[in-house]
Symmetry: C2
Subunit: 346 residues, 2 copies
């Protein structure tokens, strides 16, 4: 029995000659579409793009027969200390698969995004891993056309696209952090929240609320202050809580960095952790094992998330479906020295 003529060729193995034959156009025309030139009729372009996508076309060359695979890992900014954790996981898994990891930051500047896209195309990247990043919808679309698979780590919102996402169990983490403080006997528990536009912030907040509700503790809106995950906001947030007529006896910071900022605010006032205030963070950055005192926090498996992201893009690149389009990796309470029962009321 002859091979099915209409079946897609193996991913990444198809040539423009093959695509041209199937589309019923010439090789130069396909070349023009691939290179994004303007002198192609919309109808032809659409037909060719469909075929390109269907067959997972990747630009190759007789000269460079087996180009090493390249994965793009894209951050908004590289100043976040958990970036290195994700890089570590991604590099490890990519290396194991024989792929190189191209790290970049787009700095939120949308002008950069277009340039980044050109670079991506020029280096013929085999897959893109986006971290908490708002890559605009038109760029998603361009990646689709180029046939470059995409996965999002720590999604900002629920992507409207058929893009796999990998996150952490943020709600469970918020719940566990708050339950831990409740179990120590705290009833007035402050929250320094993350930016509400981020999905992970809302989930952590809801976990906090759910734990309080389950314990029958009324939610006091004045105990919830906004933050942006950076230490400065933890510092000011903690000061706001301490200036309350009736301050909390414990606080949950939605990031380790904010927890560190909060501890500094306490130290400046001569308050001790955990004797005067218990603090729990979120992330378990390597450095908080060595903060003073060592921080009780919610461990987020950043390196594992990076590894899973690599396996998922690679799967996509081979034309396979991911196991699941939305994955949440488990979080875990790590108890160290920054939490204790509340001081007895004298």
């Amino acid at each position: 029995m002859a091979a099915d003529e209409t079946a897609p060729a193996p991913r990444g193995k198809v040539t423009i000659t093959e695509i041209a034959r199937r589309a019923g156009v010439s090789v130069p025309t396909v070349s023009r579409v691939v290179n994004g030139r303007s002198d192609v009729s919309p109808a032809t372009r659409a037909r060719v793009e469909d075929l390109l996508r269907l067959h997972g076309y990747r630009k190759r060359s007789a000269a460079l027969p087996s180009r090493a695979a390249l994965l793009d890992l894209v951050f908004n900014d590289l100043d976040s200390p958990w970036a290195v954790e994700i890089i570590r996981g991604v590099e490890e898994a990519a290396h194991a698969a024989g792929a190189g990891t191209v790290v970049s930051a787009i700095h939120g500047r949308s002008g950069d995004a277009g340039e980044w896209m050109r670079n991506l195309r020029a280096r013929a990247s085999d897959g893109v891993i986006l971290v908490t990043s708002a890559l605009e919808p038109p760029l998603h679309e361009q990646l689709r056309i180029l046939g470059v698979p995409l996965v999002v780590v720590d999604p900002m919102g629920s992507p409207a696209f058929d893009t796999p996402t990998i996150g952490a169990a943020n709600w469970s983490g918020g719940l566990a952090a708050t339950e831990h403080l409740l179990s120590l006997g705290h009833r007035r528990i402050g929250l320094i929240a993350g930016p509400p536009r981020l999905l992970c912030s809302r989930a952590r907040f809801d976990g906090y609320r759910a734990a309080l509700e389950a314990a029958g503790v009324a939610i006091d809106a004045s105990l919830v202050v906004p933050g942006d995950f950076h230490p400065e906001s933890g510092f000011t947030g903690c000061n706001t809580l301490l200036d309350l007529p009736e301050p909390p006896t414990a606080l949950f910071a939605a990031s380790d960095q904010m927890a560190l900022g909060a501890i500094e605010a306490l130290r400046r006032r001569g308050l001790r952790v955990p004797e005067d205030m218990s603090v729990v963070g979120f992330d378990d950055l390597p450095e908080v094992r060595w903060s003073a005192p060592p921080l009780t926090t919610i461990r987020q498996p950043l390196a594992d998330m990076g590894q899973l992201a690599v396996r998922t893009v690679l799967r996509l690149a081979r034309g396979e479906r991911p196991d699941s389009p939305r994955v949440e990796l488990g979080t875990e309470l790590v108890v160290r020295a920054s939490t204790a029962p509340p001081a007895p009321v004298l």
Copy 2:
């Protein structure tokens, strides 16, 4: 006047056809040398390799006419918190030059190094930046043959090769840290040193010694304890110093991480920083602004070092000579809250 036939063509623009003509061999032969095949006579190979190097040959293709530049940034391990600082500087400068940054870790495993070399070749990297990394001499040689420029950041020792290196003013930093403590009135100053096989450790140690000598303070060998830059070694090193019959009143840790470990050792004994012990670190990692207390330290311009490394490889890639083969960027004392005059003797 005709163009000089023997002059090298512009870097990166030469083809194997051109090299073949100059070497007086056929195009396939050059192709074999470029791809490291074994079936070429040593004499022919040597002649072709010389020409390849001289002209800065880079593999290209008619199909991929202007491949995006790619720079390889190589760490021993990605677990160091200052890795992200260097990545940030490198990514920024590389991005500005339109190049992608491939980050990898070779984990000291020498088996990995060979594989990494193959990947580097396959992805046709345009330059390599090595960070505190022992890339074995044979690999240096391979890079030379491939014509891939190399620069070393924070060199482990004095490289025996004609490789540009970029470091920090470690000796001056060690001097400044110690002078700061002396100026506060400390006379018994402990040192938690870095691994002596590293150039930077020895320079920091010598700076410490020079400052003490200049102040007429005798060096007490029992006040110098070994460390490996990680927090654990700062923790145990500090305990060793505290168990001395006459402990120091201040200590200089040759890395921020060791300083954090030392502070934790002090905290566990109920000793306060800086009241009972002054501590100064080295690096100025972003996180130590938020340690408890905020750490006095020596700022090492890691991101700037990364940026300079990029400019230097790129220069090399264009066939230009670097401004200077050995560069040391300035370090700077940053005074925060972990240092104070010694407690008055009662």
